[in-house]
Amino acid sequence: MRRRVVITGMGVCAPNGIGLGAFAEAMADGKSGIRFQPELKELEFGCQIAAQPELTEELLARYFTPLQLRGLNATGIMYGVIAGSDAWKDAGLAIAEKEAPDWDSGVLFGSGTLGVAKFREAIHQIDARNVRRLGSTSVIQTMASGVSAYLGGILGCGNQVTTNSSACTTGTEGVLMGYERIAQGQAERILVGSCSDSGPYVWAGFDAMRILPRQYNERPEAASRPMSASAAGFVPGSGAGALLLESLESAQARGAHIYAEILGGAVNSGGQRGDGSMTAPNSEAVQRCILRAIGNSGIDSADIDAINGHLTATGKDALEIANWSAALGRSGTDFPYINSFKGHFGHCLSAAGSIECVAAVLQFEKETLFGNVNCEDVHPEISKIIDQRAIPQKSRAYTPSILAKASFGFGDVNACVIFKRYTD
């Protein structure tokens, strides 16, 4: 017997807002988190804009002890701990006592690459034959699971504490992994989420691949244009999102506020076969992933009334729409509402799925469908498939009942999760 799983807490550290309140407002208002980055100009990047959360020392001091902050140079861990701690607190959970952990709670927090700036520090020391000067935190800040390790210790979680990594699918995949563990009865609560570091050493490889926009350095807020005819590439971003997943029984027993229910979902890969490759999706795999998510959730494709896509603002957006349309068997005016949040805060890479899941679920809570940013000129290949009214240009009062969220990543990997508005 599978158990029902709900979301009882959320936290976010996003380029356009830190904390649920500020973030929800930014999403509803279409506020951008994309800014000119002098450091990228100095390093002669083609794309000199990016989206990163604006941290302050005061903010960090609320989440980390002075000792933890000493030599802390892993932005992904900073973002993850802020988002994760907030989600825990938002769920009304207490930090475990000093003597024993909370055996029923775990952490599953993904990362793409972690502590890159710290690793760079270490590399300089090592190359200068100064290995002994690395200090004690070089390992914990650069291991992929560093963010889960920090959160697990801060909160005192005694169930599974781990990290998943599947490129830009990471955050959405993590939601499903946490969901599975709770549905199977192996945990009562899993803090799921994902993070991505900021900085030139993370983003340079994408600039080298020439998939970032280069002509918007003077107009950063206009640069990320999902579904638009003038889309010019994705804007690199960073941050973290976190969701506290909980068994329905546990949530009800605690009298916790429930944001939404997770009905199910699916993950798969195109195996880099057919039209799939390391960097391009196999369309059949994308469609199978969506269809299986619908099947696992016990709904019909006609039940979906809103989609939050992956839609990165590259030339592949039209293909994604075609895949949604084919999988759902819906097009034209029959197509559900669809939005992409990358117009607001770019593509936060391994953090994208989790930040976007938080935003997608906030739409239930705020009874608002968040509008798209920068797609006044819908791509003609897209308007051929779906009616333009399915693409809200501004936020509007609308409460979806069932929402599909998908993320796709390098390695030809896919994840799709189905959220349902929770009603007693």
Binding site: T65, P66, L67, R70, K98, G135, S136, T137
Partner: protein, 84 residues
Amino acid sequence: MEEETKYNKLKDIIKVYLPEDVSVDAIGLESNFISELNINSANLVDIVLDVEDEFDIMLENADMDKMQTVKDALGIIDAKLEAK
């Protein structure tokens, strides 16, 4: 350098690494870093680096192994400063 100055400088270094429930007043000459002050053993590495920076000396692996208490640390600092 006066002994007291050295001791105070060392205390300033150590206090950063104390767990939240151990107060600075708990630091005494005979205090064992790990068993009495509850300092995470991984942080001893950082204390050594801070000591090196503060006193402009360099500790060897053998010195680190001998450094169990505050008094041990002061002894090692003295020896290194004398040898300079």
